[in-house]
C-alpha cells in the first residue's frame, strides 16, 4: 500500500491537531494559574504569582495533599503484593476457574467507577456497618490499582525465561530463595512501572473516593471538587490542578521509560544476565 504525499501530510496535520486538542486544555489550566483575571477570561489580563502563593499558604490544600500521598502510598504497597501474587498464579498455573479470576481482575476498571464506588459504599455502611474513613478509601483504591501491577508483571512473566528458575531449583535453591534471587530481579522494573502507575491512578482518583471517604476528610481531588464552584477559590483551584497534573504525569513518564526499556530484547537479556549473576554470586 503506497500513500500519496498529500495523504501523508493530511494525516500528519490531523495528528498535530489532535495533539493540540489533547494538550491545549491542560496548558490552559497552567496558564490560568498565572492569570490575574479571576474568571478564566481569554486572553489573560496579566501575570501574577498570587494564586501560587495562596495555595502554598493554604492549610486545607496542604492537608489534602498529605492525605492523597498517604492513600496513594499505602494502596500502591497493597496492590503491589496482591498484583504480583495474582500474576504469578495466573501465568504459571492452569486451574479450574482461571478465566473467572482473569475476568475478576479487570472488572474494577471495566465497570464504571460509580458502580465500584456505590458498591463499596453500600458494603461498608449498610452491610458491614463500618464508618467511612481513609482506610475504606485505601481498600477501594487497592482493589483497582491491583490491575495495573497485575498487567505489568504478567506481561514481564510471559517474556521471562523459565529455564533460569528451573536451573535455580536444580542447583538446590528453595522456592523462596529462587524468588528472591532469580524471579524478583527480573520483575523489578515491571514492579516499579506498575507501582508508579498504581500510585498515579490512586493519587488523582475522584469517583470511587467520593463514595468511600469519611465525612470531613479530603484528598486533593476532593478538595478541588469542593472548591470548584466557589468563585473566590477558582484561581487557587487552578494551581492545585497544575500540581495534580505534575504529580500524576511525572511517575507515568518514569513508568513509560521503564517499560519501554524492558520491551527491547536487549534490555530483557540484560535483565536475565543480571539475574544469572545474582544466582551465581
Amino acid at each position: 500500500m503506497r500513500l500519496s504525499r498529500s495523504a501523508k501530510s493530511v494525516l500528519g496535520v490531523l495528528t498535530a491537531l489532535v495533539l493540540l486538542f489533547i494538550y491545549g486544555p491542560l496548558l490552559l489550566v497552567v496558564v490560568n494559574s498565572f492569570n490575574a483575571d479571576r474568571t478564566f477570561g481569554w486572553p489573560p489580563k496579566g501575570f501574577t504569582l498570587e494564586w501560587w502563593g495562596r495555595a502554598f499558604e493554604s492549610e486545607g490544600v496542604r492537608q489534602a495533599l498529605m492525605a492523597s500521598l498517604g492513600v496513594a502510598v499505602v494502596s500502591t504497597a497493597v496492590s503491589l503484593v496482591l498484583g504480583t501474587l495474582l500474576s504469578l498464579a495466573l501465568q504459571r498455573y492452569k486451574f479450574f476457574g482461571r478465566d473467572v479470576v482473569n475476568l475478576l481482575v479487570i472488572l474494577p476498571i471495566a465497570l464504571p467507577g460509580i458502580v465500584t464506588g456505590i458498591a463499596l459504599n453500600n458494603m461498608f455502611t449498610t452491610i458491614l456497618g463500618v464508618s467511612l474513613s481513609m482506610w475504606t478509601v485505601i481498600i477501594a483504591h487497592a482493589t483497582f490499582c491491583m490491575v495495573t501491577v497485575f498487567n505489568n508483571v504478567i506481561a514481564r512473566l510471559r517474556r521471562m525465561n523459565g529455564g533460569l528458575e528451573e536451573a535455580s531449583f536444580d542447583l538446590g535453591a528453595g522456592v523462596f530463595t529462587t524468588f528472591r534471587l532469580v524471579t524478583f530481579p527480573q520483575l523489578r522494573s515491571a514492579l516499579l512501572a506498575g507501582g508508579l502507575l498504581a500510585f498515579a491512578l490512586s493519587f488523582d482518583e475522584i469517583i470511587v473516593t467520593t463514595f468511600t471517604i469519611g465525612a470531613g476528610e479530603t484528598t486533593l481531588p476532593i478538595w478541588i471538587l469542593q472548591n470548584l464552584f466557589r468563585p473566590n477559590q477558582a484561581p487557587v483551584v487552578n494551581v492545585v490542578a497544575v500540581v495534580l497534573i505534575l504529580v500524576s504525569i511525572v511517575p507515568i513518564w518514569l513508568a513509560q521509560r521503564l517499560s519501554a526499556d524492558s520491551v527491547g530484547v536487549g534490555a530483557g537479556r540484560d535483565g536475565a544476565g543480571r539475574a544469572a549473576k545474582a544466582t551465581a554470586g
Partner: protein, 312 residues
Amino acid sequence: MALQTQPGTRPGRGTAPGTAVVPRARTNTFSALLHRHPRLRLAGLLTAPAGWLVLVYVAALAALLITALWTVDTFTGKVTQSWTLANVVQVVTDPVYQIITLRTLWIALAVTVIDMVIALPISFFIAKVATERWQKLLVVAVLMPLWASYLVKAYAWRNVLAEGGLLEWLGTPLGLHSPGYSETAVILTLSYIWLPYMILPIHAGFERVPDSLLEASGDLGAKPWTTMRLVMLPILVPSIIAGTIFTFSLSLGDYITAQIVGGTTQMLGTVVYANVGAANNLPFASAVSLIPIAIVMIYLFVVRRTGALENL
C-alpha cells in the same frame, strides 16, 4: 512453563543426580514442601489476591444487587431489610428515569463514535506512516495525558468553555458559538477525557498488522482505501472493540463531568450520586446503578467472542 512437570529435577528424590543438594533442601522444610506440591504453591499465591477480590469486590457487587431490593424507612432514614421490587420497577418504568437512561446511552454512544473517528487516523499515522523516531515520541505524547487526572481534565474544559473563555475567543471570528455548560459540553469533554483509552488499543492493533501484508495488497493492485477496508479493518476489529469498552462503559457511569461542565444535564450517575448523598436512599441508588451494570455486562457478553477482552 514446566517448573513442576519434571519429577526428575526435584531435589530430595532418589532419582535426582545432584544428591549433594538434598541436605540443603531439608534445612528449609517449608520451602521443600512447597517445592514438592505445586497445588500448595498455587494456593499460597492465589489465596490473598483472589480472596481480596471476592471478599471486597464480588461481595460488594452482590450486596448492591440485594440492597436494590430493600427499602429505606422514611421515618428513621435507615435501610430496612424488607424485600420489595418497587425500586427496580420504578427505575425501569418511570419516564423520568427512562429519559435519563436514554440520554446517558446517547452521550456514551456519541463519545464512543467521536473517539473512534479521531483515534483511527491518528493511530494509523503513528503506527504506519511516521518515521521510527517520531513513532516513539508520538506514542509518549499521546499517552502521557491518559493518566493525568480525570478531574483536572474535566476542570480544564470548564476553563475552555467558560464565558469569555478560550473557545468563545477562538470561535467568534469564525461566527461559532461556544456550547457553554451543556449536554454538548459533556459529550465534548468526555470525548476528550477518554480519547487516549481508544487510541491505546487501536494503536497496538495497527502495530500488529504486518507491513508485508499491506505491501502485498498494494502489489496486487488494491488502492490504499481498499487495503484499509479489506486487510487492516478485519485485523483491527478486536482492538477497536476493546477501545469502545472503555469509552462506552466509562461514559455510562459519569457524573463528575456532568456536574462540572454539564449545566443542568442529568445522567444516570447524577441520579445515583444524588440518592447516595442528599436523598439518602441507598436502595434506590443501587437500583439505578444496576442499569449501567446490566448494559456493560451485556456489551461484554456480546463482544467476548471477538477477542476484544484480550486486547484490554
